[in-house]
């Protein structure tokens, strides 16, 4: 049902936690599923230098939150503005079609965190 990558992120979430004094926080939730992602980022200049994430919900939500941190750390704000849910889904191998909203939630968290820094 789920890809090996989703399972791996559930077993070993990357960059779990919260940054102290982050440059931005993206705390978003999906009221339908009760899923929630809280992303904290540190931005220096035009680069996102560090990120930590907390997430609760179904496996794709936790996996999307986890893989998101891998996709964004070390990238420029301009690069991040081009990141879409498809990139999150691709990085997870695949998601069941009914679960692509979990990748959307991860992107929403990123947009909210970066938006706060502006």
């Amino acid at each position: 049902m789920y890809s090996r990558q989703v399972a791996d992120h559930i077993a070993n979430p990357r960059n779990a936690g919260e940054l102290d004094q982050p440059s931005g926080i993206g705390d978003v939730s999906n009221e339908v599923c009760l899923d929630r992602i809280k992303l904290t980022v540190r931005i220096e200049g035009e680069t996102l230098v560090d990120a930590k994430v907390k997430a609760s919900g179904c496996p794709p939500t936790i996996a999307a939150a986890s893989v998101l941190t891998e996709l964004i750390i070390g990238r420029s704000i301009q690069e991040l503005s081009l990141l879409t849910r498809k990139d999150v889904i691709d990085a997870l191998g695949h998601l069941p079609p009914a679960k692509s909203h979990c990748a959307v939630l991860a992107i929403d968290a990123l947009r909210a965190a970066i938006g706060e820094c502006r």
């Binding site: 399972a7 070993n12 979430p13 779990a16 179904c58 690069e79 990139d87």
Partner: protein, 418 residues
């Protein structure tokens, strides 16, 4: 290389987990492993004893004799007569045959059916199909503990009612319905003149877990399935009380005393018979063993994990099921994480098994969305060991701790300090 190329270029991280040290199957309400004795009993009927029970020659007669022996064993398991047992393909067909068979045979007497909100989909979907066909169906609610109110059943019965279908034990919570009182209501209704009122129970989760006696239950029809108690998949039975008229689902030859056409699945029926014989002989020891381990599981979880609740009436449950809700975590995430460690359970959480519908059973019991979302069902078998429970509990504690630590909700305590 452009920005877009980079996003897809990250290779998947190899799974650093060591090989799974232990396999623990705690999803025996979904299906069980066949007992070795059952496999052994079946084997000849795949090869040298391959006769069609309808054939007149000796091959056919030996197959027929094996089927009748199995029929006696299945009948003995539920205190029925062998002629009252109709072999079918499993619990789903048994439920369909019972409900549709009564509806079709007795529709001239009325168009009303009573069932509950917590039935298996095999019952609910069959009732819905009949609703589209002119029948009216009453779905009785359940209490927080998962029990129907026999008085609500009494009030629901009308002169039009031809069938009452109430499951004996629920597949998600293990809750056992108050049959002593239900049968009282049914027999009083019959005495008051509703002679055509039929009573069916889906006993798929009860047979082999509690004593099941069709006379004491007062039912006309009872569904059971072999693979829930160490028999083969693809075989079940419908008990049809002598004198009960049902319409056929499958038309063809005169198999099963003209109640279910189709060449008998002889190896599966033989396996069913052997599993029934073992379940009859070992019932008390199996019950004691499963209950002890199930209660041990719940004690351990309760002492090691905070914010956990057992779902369903704890005094009226089959001995092998524990349904628990873990606050602040999603059941499916728990399930996946446990599966990675070799532990198989199931969940009532929305996303499980590809469906986006949360458990209709837990919802009918009035559990909150959060409670339904955090629910896990552990179901034991006669072969579950204490070591398996210990391993499952240790991994469960570790996993809940990790998932709760990962959760943005910080008001939750993780693990109780001892």
């Amino acid at each position: 290389m452009g920005v877009r190329a980079w996003f897809g270029a990250q290779p998947p991280t190899p799974n650093p987990q060591p090989p799974t040290p232990m396999k623990v199957y705690l999803d025996n309400s979904a299906t069980t492993a066949m007992a070795p004795e059952v496999t052994e009993a079946m084997l000849p009927y795949f090869s040298e004893e391959m006769g069609n029970a309808q054939s007149v020659h000796s091959f056919g007669q030996r197959a027929k004799s094996a089927i009748e022996k199995a029929r006696r064993r299945v009948a003995a398991l539920i205190s029925a007569s062998p002629t009252e047992i109709v072999f079918v393909s499993g619990g789903t067909e048994a439920d369909n045959l019972a409900i549709r068979g009564i509806a079709d045979a007795h529709r001239d007497r009325g168009h009303h059916i009573i069932t509950t909100r917590i039935e298996h989909p095999a019952v609910l979907r069959t009732c819905e199909a009949l609703e589209a066909n002119g029948f009216r169906v009453t779905y009785l609610p359940v209490s927080r503990g998962g029990l129907i109110d026999p008085e609500a059943l009494r009030r629901a019965i009308t002169g039009e009612t031809i069938l009452i279908s109430v499951m004996l034990a629920n597949n998600e919570t293990g809750t056992i319905q108050p049959f002593e009182e239900i049968v009282q209501v049914v027999s009083e209704a019959r005495e008051s003149g509703l002679a055509h009122l039929h009573f069916h129970t889906d006993a798929v989760q009860a047979v082999g877990k509690i004593p099941v006696d069709v006379k004491r239950l007062g039912v006309d029809l009872l569904s059971l399935s072999a693979h829930k108690f160490h028999g083969p998949k693809g075989i079940g039975a419908l008990y049809v009380r002598k004198g009960t008229r049902i319409a056929k689902l499958l038309h063809g030859g005169h198999h099963e005393r003209d109640r279910r056409a189709g060449t008998e699945n002889v190896p599966a029926i033989v396996g069913f018979g052997r599993a029934a014989e073992m379940a009859t002989a070992e019932l008390e020891t199996r019950i004691a063993r499963m209950r002890e381990l199930r209660d041990y599981l719940e004690r351990q979880v309760n002492s090691l994990v905070s914010n956990v609740a057992v779902n369903g009436d704890q005094d009226r449950r089959v001995p092998n099921i524990s349904n628990m809700s873990f606050g602040g975590v999603d059941g499916e995430s728990l399930l996946i994480a446990l599966d990675l460690k070799g532990i198989a359970v199931s969940t009532g959480s929305a996303c499980a098994s590809g469906s986006l519908d949360p458990s209709h059973v837990l919802q009918a019991m009035g559990l909150s969305r959060e409670e339904v979302r955090g629910s896990l069902r552990f179901s034991l078998s006669a072969y579950t060991t204490r070591e398996e429970i210990d391993y499952a509990v240790s991994i469960l504690v570790e996993t809940i701790t990790r998932l709760r630590a990962m959760s943005p909700a910080d008001e939750l305590e993780t693990v109780q300090s001892i």
